[in-house]
Amino acid sequence: MVLPAKTVQFLRETGDVARFTGRFFSQWLRPRYEISEFVRQCFIIGYKSLPLIGLTGFIMGLVLTMQLRPSLVEYGVESQLPAMVGIAIVREIGPVITALIFAGKIGSSIGAELGSMKVTEQIDAMEVSGTNPFKYLVITRVLAATLMLPVLVMLGDAISLYGSYMGVNIRGITSFRLFWTQVFDNLDFSDVLPAFIKSFFFGFAVGIIGTFKGYHSSKGTEGVGRSANSAVVVSSILIFIIDLIAVQITDLLGFN
């Protein structure tokens, strides 16, 4: 049976990503450890993304609250607004939206940076000087993305809930204390933990796809653009796929 060319290309690339991921796991614990580059990447990937994540989170919390209010008013359960928004943000919207914005900002910058290093032969230069560019460029960035995204998700959730508190107060008066009590009373450990765990996977997906696309960038400036673009597209799709798998697993484990 002859498969269509696009299918073959898709399968080949999937195989390449799997091999690339395998290479990551076979090398990440072996010395030499590029600690200073890892810390630098944590700063760039984590700290420098915070304003964007914070802003979008704040707006999202506020808008969500304002749009939910009329429906709740209709059923006379307006008082449940903080609880509903809290669960929605912590369980799903916070991690997924943060991860998508993270994919847009970090996935593209990793893809473009490594892509331009590839086409200007800087990766080859590291290779021929007998230093391992995979450790310096890939492992540091993937680890930083994996570890920083959960932190950003937590901070984003908190900022988002603050936005929600403001949203609640636009049409009514709720004290800060009452709002948070309502949110936390209705949140369970089983709401927070799965969301926290899946954000590690989201971060890993963004890191590995961004570095893979950049590392295998084809020659020329067009190749760099394509790497940056497909890093965002593929990692965004992967985020949804991981989300889908995560919800099935949490359902099986009885967390839903």
Binding site: R32, M117, T120, E121, Q122, D124, A125, M126, E127, V128, S129, G130, T131, N132
Partner: protein, 257 residues
């Protein structure tokens, strides 16, 4: 046919110790046969220029030697090790002894000149002190006459300066063999001449051997101890510059006209 071109390719008359050899190398990209039974030998202390037209496979040849490209067939021995049979770690050890100067310089543009030079050093000589690293960086920069650029970014340097810094980065590991990929391409004749003179000086100082890929006749004339003509994927002829310039073969003659 001329006596020199019928001599078995890759063998030097008399010759010193053999430190690099390429035997029966084949490499093709799709239908395009770039290297077709190519042979080359490099002896300690000599500069060999590989001369050929653009697209004749010169860069492919040195990329095969350093292990960036895998040939389809053939054997490559560098410093006694068969490059094609080495694992990653052993290959890295050999690569540390072989410098490679890229045509595009390939300086790490997010790092300063100092960091560019320290990058290979810190990863190979793990137990070296900060003071020693500083000293080695300064020595390498002195060799290329650019100590004052130590804290500059590559984007702040001119083309010729970048080439010199790339050379300093190659020199910092004290390589036994240096592979130059078109070292004068893209430079004006005067800067190019400066780079060639620097290459000759460095060879004398470090007692290194070099393979220089070039089609710059000035470079061939000044830097070469021996010239290998890469035509149709083969070692078509070899000899000193003077020997080749007097050959009557039209394919060789067109290079020297």
């Amino acid at each position: 046919m001329d006596e020199l071109s019928i001599r078995e390719p890759g063998l030097k008359k008399g010759g010193g110790e053999e430190i690099l050899s390429v035997r029966n190398l084949y490499k093709s990209f799709g239908e395009n046969k770039v290297l077709n039974d190519f042979n080359l030998t490099l002896y300690a202390g000599e500069n060999v220029v590989v001369l050929g037209k653009s697209g004749s496979g010169k860069s492919v040849l040195i990329k095969c030697i350093i292990g960036l490209l895998k040939p389809d067939q053939g054997a490559i021995k560098v410093l006694g090790k068969n490059i094609l049979e080495l694992d990653r770690e052993e290959l890295d050890k050999v690569r540390a002894k072989v410098g490679f100067l890229f045509q595009s310089n390939a300086l790490y543009d997010s790092m300063t000149v100092r960091e560019n030079l320290e990058f290979p050093l810190r990863r190979h000589w793990i137990r070296v002190s900060h003071q020693k690293v500083d000293e080695l960086v300064k020595d390498a920069l002195e060799d290329v006459g650019l100590v004052h650029t130590i804290n500059m970014m590559p984007s702040e340097l001119s083309g010729g300066m970048r080439k010199r810094i790339a050379l300093a980065r190659t020199l910092i590991l004290k390589p036994e063999i240096i592979l130059y990929d078109e070292p004068t391409t893209g430079l004006d004749p005067i800067t190019g001449k400066g780079i060639i003179e620097l290459m000759v000086e460095i060879q004398k100082k470090y007692h290194s051997s070099s393979i220089i890929i070039s089609h710059d006749m000035n470079c061939v004339k000044t830097a070469s101890d021996r010239v290998v003509m890469l035509i149709d994927g083969k070692c078509y002829a070899e000899g000193t510059y003077e020997e080749l310039i007097n050959m009557t073969d039209p394919k060789i003659k067109e290079f020297f006209e």
